[in-house]
């Protein structure tokens, strides 16, 4: 059933300070509203419980991609289209660009934002695995100041996150890495465009002297929240490329994911694809 529109309020704060003031004045009452690509779907379906929204779309303080010697910092309102167009991101963080290109359509990518995708906290979102393998940090702001958190510890359970009432996500920052690294991303959905993931896999590894010196693996749609596969990572770290214990790494991965049957896929399919994607990732390290 469609939503009863008079029940929904929306205000446009004039700047970030006004937005934070509003959030602090009535904790939990106001919800940030950016590009609307998730919230408007819920509204139309009559499934939007929150009734008061802060239109943050025009807040300049949350926009822009900034590059320093150490970080690339993306404002929370950076859209998927902007991620794809950015040259340094394309060169140094290609997995994030791939995730952005494979999320929704052109129209969705023009409106959908990185911060919105994170705060929507869907376990099937495609940018979180890429952010995690890049050791992203998330910056949150409130009336009492700013704080940073490793993004890998931001999502704490199904739709649960480390974001207090009164806080807004201000930015995501990605540490720049000088050393060469092998990077792998694959989203498996029903069709290549516009489909929500059945499973999504991101992996980054540093190879030194034919050994896996360091590795990061993260997956979407296989657990209640995006998952960093620390056990599989641990098993792979230090292994010689010619003789990787792939079976062992696959078993470790199998033990840490918890896929379910749902409208998009089955637990069994997701389990076998997760193992296969890990094998494909390890193969790319050799080449």
């Amino acid at each position: 059933m469609r939503a009863f529109l008079p029940a929904y309020e929306m205000e446009t704060p004039r700047d970030l300070a006004a937005a934070l003031d509003c959030l602090a004045s009535a904790p939990g009452v106001w919800q940030a509203f950016a590009g609307g690509t998730d919230l408007m779907v819920l509204l139309e379906a009559g499934k939007l419980p929150q009734k008061k929204f802060l239109n943050i779309w025009n807040l300049e303080e949350l926009r822009g991609i900034f590059v320093s010697a150490e970080y690339v910092t993306l404002g929370a309102l950076t859209t998927y289209a902007e991620v794809q167009r950015h040259e340094i991101l394309a060169r140094e963080f290609p997995l994030l660009c791939r995730a952005a290109a494979e999320t929704g359509s052109v129209a969705t990518q023009n409106r959908g934002t990185l911060g919105g995708n994170i705060a929507n906290a869907s376990p099937a979102a495609d940018s979180p695995p890429a952010l995690i393998v890049y050791d992203a940090e998330i910056e949150m702001v409130s009336m009492s100041g700013a704080r940073f958190l490793p993004y890998a510890s931001f999502h704490t359970g199904y739709k649960q996150m480390n974001l207090q009432a009164g806080e807004l996500i201000r930015a995501i920052r990605l540490p720049r890495v000088r050393a060469g690294r092998k990077q792998y991303f694959r989203k498996v959905g029903t069709r290549r465009a516009q489909a929500i993931s059945k499973i999504c896999f991101a992996g980054v590894a540093r190879v030194e002297a034919a050994r896996i010196a360091d590795v990061r693996i993260a997956l979407g749609s296989v657990s209640p929240a995006v998952l960093r596969a620390v056990r599989a990572e641990e098993l792979l770290r230090g292994q010689r490329l010619g003789s990787v214990d792939l079976r062992g790494a696959q078993d470790a991965l199998g033990a840490e994911i918890a896929p379910i049957d749902d409208m998009r896929s089955t637990a069994r399919y997701r389990r076998s694809v997760a193992r296969n994607l890990l094998a494909e990732f390890v193969e790319t390290l050799v080449g």
Binding site: A3, L5, P6, A7, Y8, E9, M10, E11, T12, F33, G35, G36, T37, M40, V41, L43, E44, A45, K51, F53, N55, W57, A81, G104, S105, V106, A107, T108, N110, R111, A193, Q194
Partner: protein, 163 residues
Amino acid sequence: MPEPARKIRVSCVVNGAAASFEAYPMARLLDVLREELKLTGTKEGCGEGECGACSIELDGQLVNSCLVPALQAEGTRIRTIEGLAIGDNLHALQQAFITHGGAQCGICTPGMILAAVNLLAQHPQPDGAQIREGLSGNLCRCTGYMKIFESVVAAVRQTESRA
């Protein structure tokens, strides 16, 4: 019972002319265009951002108007299918869709053409892959897409020969 939201007045530019309407802040831009501004060329398909039938340009960017709340239209420039023809002269894409069978039932057509217009603004001479990608958010249940792709190619060719 909390106090209900009041309608707000929103001013924007639609197809080159100043426009103003009253709407609840979270009314869908799609509904406002059709019901308040009487621009019924923009169609509703899925109503959840999957099909692209309601595609319009908002500040030069392709968006699904079913996912834009009225409040966010404040101060924007909007282009709909009604804004493409100049008098009786159809836009090259509109004419190509007619000539090459790119439109059948017509529900996806306005959104499809807006997506194509937006694609050509960024890539005036798109290759086949760019056309497919540019239109991948617009679903059509009639044509099987080939005639749509052919229509876009024909429009590009025609625009080139005129230039």
